[in-house]
Amino acid sequence: MRISLRHKQHHIAVDVHPEGGSYRIGIGETEHVVEAHYIDETTMMLVVDGRRHHVAIARKGKERLVAIDGEIYQFAPESGSAGHVATFAPPEIIAPMPGKVLQVLVKAGDHVAAGDGLLILEAMKMENRLVAEAAGTVTEVRVTEGAMVDGGQVLVVMKYDE
């Protein structure tokens, strides 16, 4: 069974083959032998190719939040065949939380470099600078200065350079 996941810009296709009490797991060209033990609903003990990993997992709809050794991952399911692991920045710049648009730094048509500021959002008492994750062209600016926006609202749409 192929599970296609996205974590940030990473697309990961995981082939899960249950085999007796354990799994064969294929990722890219590599195959892993995995034992999975649920300690409780939020704690898994994985033994991957003989090495033990203590993993915490939480579910948010279809998403899986995973904590391991101080690291945090958030995997969203993807449909379709995402067999490649490629760099990918989402074209829609989204408000990470509710706040007020203090300043819009770009307009449609502008070309920006990776790290260039797109707009400034005031939230949690701080001015937060939203930046372009990669170089590209601004195709749309959906907010104006002074606007109150909700978390998750699309603020700017980008078309990244190939």
């Binding site: 034992e35 939020t42 994985l46 939480a58 995973v66 101080g70 701080m126 937060n128 978390g151």
Partner: protein, 498 residues
């Protein structure tokens, strides 16, 4: 000495929880205040009584002086502890508390006012012989800027005359950036402190942030508890603090603590306070400001000196004479603190509030967690995104450092992005390990951090296996359920060999 019977805690989050514990340990009842967004926040649950002081925005609740004092009156509290932030450095509040016949747990209002105005404070401490950074004070409008900048020389730092905590601060490296930075800083200062006045000073390259904890009673006695180094900052806010500073020689420590005591004495300081300095690469130090309150990072001082600063605050506020001479204070070992924020360090440290789906805190020897969250708790969007602080003690800096890394690796917070992975990468950096720290550490070593993902494959395997598993419920709750059919427990064995 009779302490208070009941104290109102005019704050929220981890510091309110810590203050309530401190009260309980002295046999004092604690009254919480809360905004409508915080009716079931952790600090409310551990208080003996609680009063709602208004709608979620802090300007209408935690910053509301009148309602806060009314709450104390209603619940017959005899004193108010302001914590840090909110009303902690508001002289008008301290005065209003006294005027209401209550005790303000902190310095006298005059000392708060004197140190709260950065321009006035600077003049005061200069008179007391404390060195300060070359600067021009009280720049009222942008037209004066080019002249001011020329006098001091680039790079410059612009900051709010009234504030602290990084709000309203901007670094300017060239004249082109001067006007927009000034405008933004003034806007932030106005919104955060209701006072848009700014202060421009020479910006020191790669300085260390070193601060000294002082404690005074109301009878003129004043001691210090050594320094803290708080150089690791992002957005001009501290994220890792430690004591002792790897940079201080005994001679330099002697000079800096003496300067701190002189600065505090210049305003007849009582209660707990912190004198902040910058230490440049040549070992010269400059007064930055005095924080007239308990500091976020006070636990490292407590660990190393064997003092409970909150107990001490309550005791001196009740009129007790200092029970310690300077010679009684003997620091031991090393302590480090990490602040855990709900923020995404890979996205310019954007705040990332959410609901805590799963929480497991580190523990054991030498590890302290001061937490303002719990499993199931939704972090409100209205306040500072700090969730908790982890502090550790070790016999040496190396021992404390290793213990902090082990503690952060144990720490599980799922539901919002936290600074834990970033903190681990900072701690792992050879420059941190060797104590080569300065306030531009993050910009210099982590200009574009993208995440710590050493276990991405293992995490993906876990997510994939969990996705193939039949779901029990659609809710996103953390459930400690009995064994599921997928739990193949019992006699299993792993490890090398057979």
């Amino acid at each position: 000495m009779t302490l208070f019977r009941r104290v109102l805690i005019a704050n929220r989050g981890e510091i309110a929880v810590r203050l309530i514990r401190g009260c309980h340990e002295l046999g004092i009842e604690a009254v919480a205040i809360y905004s409508e967004a915080d009716a079931t926040a952790p600090h409310v649950l551990c208080a003996d009584d609680a009063v709602c002081v208004g709608p979620p925005p802090s300007a209408e609740s935690y910053l509301n002086i009148e309602r806060t004092i009314d709450a104390a009156r209603q619940t017959k509290a005899e004193a108010i502890h302001p914590g840090y932030g909110f009303l902690a450095e508001n002289a008008a509040f301290a005065r209003a508390v006294s005027d209401a016949g209550l005790t303000f747990i902190g310095p006298r209002a005059e000392a708060i006012a004197a140190m709260g105005d950065k321009v006035a404070a600077r003049k005061l401490v200069v008179k007391a012989g404390v060195p300060v950074v070359p600067a021009v004070e009280d720049v009222a409008d942008a037209s004066q800027l080019p002249r001011v900048a020329a006098d001091i020389g680039y790079p410059l730092l612009i900051k709010a005359a009234a504030g602290g905590g990084g709000k309203g601060m901007r670094i300017v490296r060239s004249e082109a950036d001067l006007a927009p930075a000034f405008a933004a800083a003034a806007r932030e200062a106005q919104s955060a402190f209701g006072d848009g006045r700014l202060f421009v000073e020479r910006y020191l390259e790669r300085p260390r942030h070193i601060e000294v904890q002082v404690l005074g009673d109301q009878h003129g006695n004043l001691v210090h508890f050594g320094e803290r180094e708080c150089s690791i900052q992002r957005r001009h806010q501290k994220i890792i603090e430690e004591t002792p500073s790897p940079a201080l020689t005994p001679a330099l420590r002697e000079q800096m603590t003496a300067a701190a005591v002189a600065a505090a004495r210049s305003v007849n300081y009582s209660n707990a306070g912190t004198v902040e300095f910058l230490l440049d690469q040549d070992g010269r130090f400059y007064f930055l400001e005095m924080n007239t309150r308990l500091q976020v990072e006070h636990p490292v001082t407590e660990w190393v000196n064997g003092i409970d600063l909150v107990h001490a605050q309550l005791r001196v506020a009740a009129g007790e004479r200092l029970w310690l001479q300077q010679d009684d204070i003997r620091p031991r070992g090393h302590s480090i603190e990490c602040r855990i924020y709900a923020e995404d360090a890979a996205q310019t440290f954007l705040p990332s509030p959410g609901t805590i789906l799963h929480l497991r805190e580190p523990g054991g020897p030498g590890v302290r967690v001061d937490s303002g969250i719990r499993a199931g708790y939704t972090v409100p969007i209205f306040y500072d995104p700090m969730l908790a602080k982890v502090s550790v003690w070790g016999e040496t800096r190396d021992a404390a450092w290793r213990r902090m890394i082990a503690a952060l690796r144990e720490y599980v917070v799922l539901g919002c992005t936290t600074s834990i992975p970033f903190l681990l990468d900072v701690l792992d950096h050879p420059a941190f390990a060797s104590g080569d720290t300065h306030t531009h550490f993050i910009e210099e070593h982590f200009p574009s951090w993208r995440g710590r993902e050493q276990h991405r494959v293992i995490a993906a395997i876990a997510a994939a296996i969990d996705t193939t598993r039949p779901q029990r419920a659609a809710t996103a709750g953390a459930t400690a359920a009995p064994a599921s059919p997928w739990a193949t427990l019992g006699h299993w064995r792993v490890g090398a060999g057979g």
